[in-house]
Symmetry: C2
Subunit: 597 residues, 2 copies
């Protein structure tokens, strides 16, 4: 059960206008048919090479023996097929060996693969992130030796930030890199939680590592970025000897077991060759370019895991016959499909509202990436960039929470069966629990949004987002069924802005801890607002489709309108109480003595 194709086409074409991308300079010469073919290919490949191994790669956890990681053989084969079909290279520049297709299309393909087998997909996602980093900030030689070879999928990549003592707190990184006479570095230290840190899935693994140079200032200003190949790469591109970086252990996770997660030790023999990327002290700034895209990628995974579970639950609900309507209790009548029970319908429609709403948000972010790449004027690019930076913590976190809730409900629809490993919904639930943790935790995203993206920005970007939402609301005036949705969204918008002002005032008055108590519930609330807006846009497109589209699509469009209405009447309407609670800025959690917990 993958992301629904009809939904993907609707969101890409009817809501976000993928076909029109072909008119933009970056995508000159491409045809809408190319995009459809790419999606066809992604579905075929995901069905044939990813989905069949999802349960196996959960059951057969990566083994760690004699410093080597052993994965099921089929993993290398499947990822080889992915590479050969060009899926590592979808969005990279043609000049870097990529296909230079729209990011929107690339993320849609990611969603297809992640919904089939998130453990395999993660290798490609991490590699794309690492490639992007080298291609953006590396020297020409680094691009040639490392960047392009990751973009093609020949080499795989990782990002090495966390250390055992420093997860969310990057300013405390200790890994050290010493400059050598030949311009290379020798790196020493331990990195923790490194996904894809050791395996034999590709010819080489390129680690992108944050480390300090001797004498660098304390904190994040002393951090630089380094390339550390698992196998050294000669200047002519040929592979040399094994570098001094070793896996010292793998983590045994609750889920997402298809992706090996490692502890890496660099320079145990004082011979870990590393190459600095860009300037000294700017490592974190570079890494965050990758992190931001990775964070949206995490949102895509969270959506996909919830989406796959929703489709399983829906299929089960249609088939499973049990019970009778409340108004027809005669036990001699045959049982009905559980899809007829109101509580099951509610659970399914909530799942639909969350996963399709989450998908609409991450695809919208991908379109912003495309718009930025096509924008020729500096100010315009900067404005898109700010919008994207504002939405990034939301696109990462909101699906990690609410598509996980969808997973929880998918299990509930299947009842006892859903709690067994005979059905995939329990695995998808376990997989999705990771997304709130990696690439910046829930709390880190919340702090990023409230402190950096709103308070330090003086609320400027928030007001721009509000403007975009108001435009959508205005466009619904007199539009019959859309008007009540637009009205609810307007109420929620006002309420969120009011709450943001209260939080900013608290921060401005020198009490950031007090506001920080509410940062996470506030992040979730802004997420609801933004997803509610994307649902209004989906509803507008569905309304247009209903008026002009094929009659065979009627149920599809009615389903979209029902999901939009459900989200607005339930999730958005319920938010008013939560926002009022946030505005009360209760300090019980600060006031409680440590011994009182």
């Amino acid at each position: 059960m993958l992301i629904d194709r009809r939904d993907l086409d609707f969101q890409l074409q009817e809501v976000l206008g993928l076909a029109a991308m072909t008119c933009l300079p970056r995508f000159h010469g491409q045809e809408p048919g190319d995009y459809a073919a790419m999606l066809d290919s992604a579905y075929t490949l995901a069905q044939q090479h990813f989905l069949p191994h999802a349960a196996t790669s959960d059951r057969e956890e990566p083994l760690f023996e004699d410093g080597r990681v052993i994965l099921p053989e089929v993993a290398a084969q499947s990822l080889g097929v992915l590479r050969d079909a060009g899926f590592f290279a979808v969005s990279f520049n043609e000049s870097d060996g990529g296909l230079q297709l729209p990011r929107m299309l690339g993320q849609a393909c990611s969603a297809i693969f992640a919904s089939a087998n998130v453990g395999y997909h993660a290798y490609a996602m991490l590699t794309a992130g690492a490639a992007n980093l080298v291609l953006s900030f590396g020297t020409e030689q680094q691009k040639l030796l490392f960047g392009r070879r990751m973009a093609s999928g020949e080499f795989f990549g990782t990002m090495c930030l966390s250390e055992p003592q420093a997860g969310s707190s990057l300013s405390d990184l200790r890994c050290e890199a010493r400059l050598q006479p030949d311009g290379s570095y020798r790196l020493r230290g331990t990195k923790m939680w490194i996904s894809g840190g050791e395996h034999d899935l590709a010819r080489n693994i390129i680690h992108l590592v944050l480390a300090r140079t001797p004498g660098a200032p304390a904190g994040i200003k002393g951090i630089s970025l380094f390339i550390v190949p698992r196998i050294r790469v000669q200047p002519d591109g040929s592979l040399g000897e094994r570098n001094d970086v070793h896996c010292t252990g793998v983590n045994h996770k609750m889920g997402w077991r298809g992706t090996v997660n490692t502890v890496l030790s660099f320079g145990e023999r004082e011979d870990c060759e590393a190459w600095r990327v860009g300037e000294e002290g700017r490592g974190l700034a570079y890494m965050f370019k990758m992190m931001n895209e990775a964070r949206i990628g995490v949102g895509v995974c969270a959506v996909s895991l919830g989406y796959a579970a929703y489709r399983h639950a829906l299929a089960y609900a249609k088939e499973r016959r049990q019970g009778r309507p409340l108004t027809q209790r005669d036990p001699s009548t045959p049982p009905v499909s559980i899809l007829e029970h109101p509580d099951v319908r509610r659970m399914l429609l909530s799942q639909k509202a969350w996963v399709e709403g989450g998908l609409s948000l991450v695809l919208y972010c991908a379109r912003l990436v495309d718009e930025r790449a096509n924008c020729t004027d500096e100010d315009g690019r900067e404005a898109i960039e700010q919008l994207l930076e504002f939405l990034t913590p939301i696109a990462k976190s909101w699906p990690s929470e609410f598509c996980l809730e969808a997973n929880k409900l998918a299990i509930q629809v299947l009842g006892g069966y859903g709690y067994t490993r005979d059905y995939p919904v329990e695995r998808l639930y376990r997989d999705n629990r990771l997304n709130h943790i990696h690439e910046g935790t829930w709390g880190i995203q919340a702090q990023d949004l409230l402190i950096r993206k709103i308070a330090m920005d003086g609320g400027q970007t928030l007001r721009r987002v509000a403007g975009l939402i108001e435009d959508s609301i205005t466009a619904c005036a007199g539009e019959g069924d859309l008007e009540p949705l637009a009205r609810q969204l307007g109420v929620t918008l006002k309420d969120v802005l009011h709450t943001a002002a209260a939080l900013m005032q608290s921060i401005g008055a020198g009490a950031p801890e007090r506001a920080m108590l509410c940062a996470t519930p506030f992040l979730d609330a802004v997420g609801h607002l933004v997803v509610g807006w994307r649902w209004l846009e989906q509803a507008r497109s569905a309304q247009a489709g209903l008026e002009s589209g094929a009659s065979s699509d009627r149920d599809f469009y009615l389903g979209k309108l029902a999901a939009a209405r459900h989200f607005h009447a339930n999730d958005l309407a319920a938010l008013s109480g939560r926002l009022a609670a946030i505005r009360s800025l209760d300090v019980a959690a600060l006031a409680i003595p440590d011994g009182g917990f």
Copy 2:
């Protein structure tokens, strides 16, 4: 990490008045010191014999080989220790071989064991339920041969309701029992999801099975209750030959793996001996006596799993040093414990509010059981019974939802570590996901509360609950810090009553499906109200303790007051929006065409 002893003493003694139970006729001659000794013993036993095997029994899932279930040997030993210490018999009548201690104390012991190892605890919980059923409705001989021997823990028990085609819909049960000339029955059919259905942990397993007699009416009126021993029991009490009931498979679950879950086949050789309990056609009514207690028992398990995780998260947060306060970013200063970060404090205080609030609810229900057992007048007993029946779906469901949320946050506090099997929080999260499913799903509890306990009752019991809550509110008048809590509770109470009226009106107007769309959110909301009330009562006791108690308890009482305030200012305050959304009775989930999902 078990249920906190100080908290348990506070709730049992200071809030619920356990010591005063010794004045009641049923507990005549008992001393408060006996109760304390029982708790001491439970902690010792849980620490020594349950906790050390919790992770092992998750890792080493029950094996099924040649029709036999194989469990780690230590399980039988540990449960033997539990039995020998009298913990199977805690609340049973002395005349049935029990200790006849208060149910409140029994549930407190259950919470201790469940927080240590829910998989082992479940065998005792199921056995107590089955014993209770036979001792309540069986013949003298059945009590002697089966009931007392389960009450002592010599035999274990199960309850066999579900069949492959009938989980929530018991009216469709097909299992059949035919009367024999000697007064016994021969039973035939398949039962599904039977916890503890096959093992060698005890001398015998007594299955309590729902089945139909030939010619019985369709639906629930045709269901009778039967005793089916795994090994036949002779009239003199000695064990005879193996009965014709066999395990045909075990379920591979996401969690709660210490308890084997089986498929049972009855009468494959047409020779499954069974004994009817009570009258024909009253099977479900009897079973529900056990189910109601089992449901509160499920609530106890859900609380305990969330509680154990909270204590792990708290211990981790105190030890883990990382990051700095927002107002002190100098990277040369040492990192602080993460307990100092507002977002971590919020997560921990929410966990505390949910798990200690859940505990207060289930212990309150246990006290009602004790009050009922001591009430000599019929009307009084009936009134207590109604209150208990009203609270049962809440005591089962609310902790299954919000203590699971506590588990989710406990993982979050530990970050990446929490997602690994090196720490127990991921296991506790997986374990707790079951509680919304077994002994009547979330949706079944919601329907029970809204349709049976409120609408069909004409709102009478709801008004009585409201009266009790109002009494607590009134008692806080002029009580300084308690007044704002009481005020919030009053607002929520009014809001819930208003919403209940809207739902009852919809049901009365012949649109139960529409109301049923909101039944689950409404159940959660009533749960918040009731838990908010129990928090107000905890706050009152804490305030009293603060004024008169030892200064060493000061932090403890301040912690209670902070948790109460946090729950009221956040969870209760946020409820207003959810209740407004419920009252809007949106029908999108009914209106959507099936093809629109």
